[in-house]
């Protein structure tokens, strides 16, 4: 069965929706079991006190990247039918900076706040309330930042294109960055703070 299953007509939209719930369950289960329903743990990343968050993120990215690329090399998925995210460099950098400030203050990002809310974390419920307000603020006052939001449309722009290397080499470079980044951050954590609480 060659993926994407729904775009190749192998499963119906209804079954795809069922899979969405099931995959979401796996994702939510993993977030909770990784400790990401704990705002202290997430914020700890910004003090190098507990670097599990960036380690999980790096690992997830390279797992998915190597997995998707590997499945396409094996002919099990058709990358041509994927939806690739477009790059808008400047809005993403500015959005990322504000996001980081909010994440350090709030102790959550959207996915982790949803996972934490259902396990009784009151700070997560308040964070989600704030998120709803913040996204309404963006949408209702959209004309104020419309131009900036749409500036620098780079289309689908990948690291292999940026560096002018083939995809395999780009994935190798990203993997090395993830592995050495994770080991380096863990070293800093142990030096300044010791092991996780």
């Amino acid at each position: 069965m060659i993926g994407p299953l729904v775009k190749n007509g192998i499963i119906s939209d209804g079954v795809n929706t069922l899979f969405a719930v099931l995959i979401g369950m796996l994702f939510g289960y993993a977030l909770q079991r990784s400790g990401f329903t704990n705002s202290k743990k997430i914020a700890g990343a910004f003090y190098m006190k507990d670097v599990d968050v960036p380690v999980v993120m790096f690992t997830a990215i390279i797992t998915a990247s190597i997995g998707l690329w590997g499945l396409s090399l094996l002919g099990l998925i058709d990358l041509g039918k994927f939806y690739f995210l477009p790059s808008y460099l400047l809005p993403m950098v500015v959005g990322g900076l504000i996001f980081g400030v909010g994440m350090a203050m709030g102790g959550f990002c959207p996915g982790t706040s949803i996972a934490a809310m259902v396990t009784g974390k009151i700070d997560a419920m308040v964070f989600v309330g704030g998120f709803l307000l913040g996204s309404l603020l963006f949408g209702d006052l959209y004309p104020l930042w419309d131009k900036f939001y749409n500036s620098g449309a780079n289309g689908v722009w990948r690291i292999d294109q940026l560096l002018n290397v083939n995809v395999g080499l780009a994935i190798l470079l990203v993997t090395l960055l993830a592995v050495f980044g994770s080991l380096g951050m863990r070293k800093l954590q142990y030096k300044f703070w010791g092991k996780n609480d």
Partner: protein
Amino acid sequence: MKKKLWDPVFGGIVIGISIILTFYVAGRGLGASGALTAFAATIQNIVSPSVTQSSQYFSKYFANGANPLDDYLVYLVIGVMIGSFIAGMVSKDMKLEVLKGPNISSKGRLWYALAGGILVGYAARMARGCTSGQALVGGAELSVGAWAFMFSIFAGGFAVAYFIRRQWI
């Protein structure tokens, strides 16, 4: 007694596999912020439809009678809630509580949570996604914008961490 957490590398691999699965089944990535924004737009459309209809950004959510809650990411997020709830039950980490550092009151912590939520809600729209939908999925796609977004998140967090340390350490 709470159950021990997963090793972060194992947790990362499972999350990576969930991303591979959304692509294999649906041909797209996962994400969390889109569902929350759809929910916010829906509430606003009930409370104050005129504001929503006159919003250039939100009016298209409801164009031609569309229901923004009938969306892939909304079903996915329903799954996230079920999965996290089950994990919380089996690991005995299910309690109404406010998590914070020792040097701040619960009330103070909740004000920070609200302010942080507003900033993240705004920023997730500006960046067209959040840590899951943009940083992880885009990162796996080798998207330049997604990697820039992820490094910017850490830059913003490190920049402000010292000034809000009372809350956490």
